[in-house]
Amino acid sequence: MGDEMDAFEKRLNKNFHVEIIPPKQESENLEADLNLFASKLERVINSGFTASITDNAMGILAFQGHECIEELGLRIDPERVLIHLNTFHTIKNLDEILASCMRLGIRSILAVSGDGSTRLPKLCPADVECKNTLSVTSVELISYIRKRYPEFRIGVAFNPYEPEKHEFEKLDRKLSAGASFVITQPIIDKNPVIDRLLRDYSGLPVTIEAWMSKKLYLLSDVVGYPISEDAEYDPIATLEKLRGVYPQCGFYLSLLGFKTQYQLIEEMA
């Protein structure tokens, strides 16, 4: 596993991770939405990028990436698929997802606390065999996966907008629990906290999220201060700039426009 992980992690540092959101549970045309999911996944994998498939992003109920792949019988390069997994599941569902990923050969998981909703269950400490905590965060989730499914390599989120000391302490807990790579929250410029992350954790593969929507104001909640709706923003130019600033990192592309931006990304790679 060691050599294999090294190869994966080395590739992380040069790769684009393209976020793909599976069809929503409330889809009004499930078949069409599944076809769109399949075509995006195929395109990302054929480009040599990594497909990062979300797990009920923003608490909006969606089908799981693994079940879409299994149900549609999609041929994938499992090394190029990253499945997000959050704490809003029953333990039965969680185990089903991980078992399905094993069957598909997918070995990369992004473990996050996630966004809940009234419709989503939440893991309890007893579910993931934790005694000294009142709630399950990504740390307990990582420990559980590491213990029960040691085959997986686990990535974690890093938020440069949180209080710095707190965020680095949390990162240390995640790494101690068994995480082996990091994906950041989106940045739009050189960031001193990311600089520290790269400096102090030099062996750790870090993938930086680049904001690919022109609607920069949607980032307001992430950064913690209001961004004007009139703010002009060029995602492609920003990505190019960030690649120059952080040449050692991979880039996670959220809200990527497949019709308008994808070809530019392929050319850039």
Binding site: Q25, E31, E67, N93, R119
Partner: protein
């Protein structure tokens, strides 16, 4: 055991509009969901079936588009679904709706247990479940938060009351309305959703269930909505307290006192 789950398609809570002329909720063009409390009733029916075996039938009354609510129930695992739909049912109040649903349950036949959510989030009356029980002469328990025991001739449940809860045993046929503490509704799997998508849902008309035409619809409903108004808008204010962390809680409390919120 044969279980019927009565569900209702309602507008999403942030998307409800009221017709100023008819005073009725405008369903056309608004996003529709399964009444959230009904999801708990479906889940409880599935949990009971896992223990006892049997069949679960989801039942609703509404327009053609209410089939999507029934398909959601099918994707969660109910065995079959029936839609009551006809212009003659349109505008039925809770009394007429209870009557029509009860007639449908009689038509299904040999139903031992009927489950409903405690109320629908659009009308908020909590009357239809108990109304069905009355018309079927079935035992009923409202606001059930735990099904303790399922036996051959009875079900034992805990229901919420003003002081805590009662432990109640009901002989079949019995109707339970359930609260959200009772379980966590399952999320449908893709495979089940795809099967449900293709399911044929029978549509029953008033004559299929033997309803008296003088007891259904808006004209024959004993209650009429005279006036409806949306709730007053809340005056939400976002206040940024800019100060040192150690002073923040004091400042926050002062702001609440100033606004007479505490």
């Amino acid at each position: 055991m044969k279980i019927v789950v009565c569900i209702k398609q309602v507008p999403a809570s942030n998307d409800a509009k009221i017709d100023p002329e008819t005073k009725r909720i405008v369903r056309e063009g608004s996003k529709a969901i399964v009444n959230p409390f009904d999801l708990y009733a479906i889940e409880e029916a599935l949990a009971i079936k896992e223990r006892t075996g049997g069949e679960i039938i989801a039942l609703t009354m509404g327009p053609e588009k209410a089939k999507s609510a029934l398909k959601e129930a099918l994707s969660m695992g109910v065995d079959r679904a029936i839609l009551l739909s006809d212009r003659a049912f349109g505008g039925s109040d809770t009394w007429a709706t209870s009557y029509a649903l009860a007639k449908a349950i009689e038509t299904i036949g040999d139903v031992e247990l009927i489950l409903c959510g405690k109320q629908a989030i659009d009308g908020d009356t909590a009357q239809v479940g108990p109304g069905i029980a009355e018309k079927l002469n079935a035992r009923q328990a409202a606001n059930v938060w735990k099904v303790e025991k399922i036996e051959e001739h009875s079900v034992t449940v805990k229901r919420i009351n003003e002081r805590g809860w009662d432990l109640v045993r009901l002989k079949y046929p019995a109707l339970l309305t359930v609260v959200k503490d009772i379980n966590t509704p399952r999320i449908p799997k893709l495979r089940d959703a795809l099967i449900a998508e293709k399911a044929e849902i029978p549509v029953w008309k008033p004559w299929d269930i033997g309803t008296d035409p003088d007891l259904i619809g808006l004209r024959n409903s004993p209650t009429q909505v005279v006036r409806t108004a949306p709730p007053a808008a809340r005056n939400a204010v976002t206040l940024k307290i800019d100060c040192k962390p150690e002073e923040a809680s004091d400042r926050f409390v002062k702001e609440l006192l100033k606004r007479k919120l505490i």
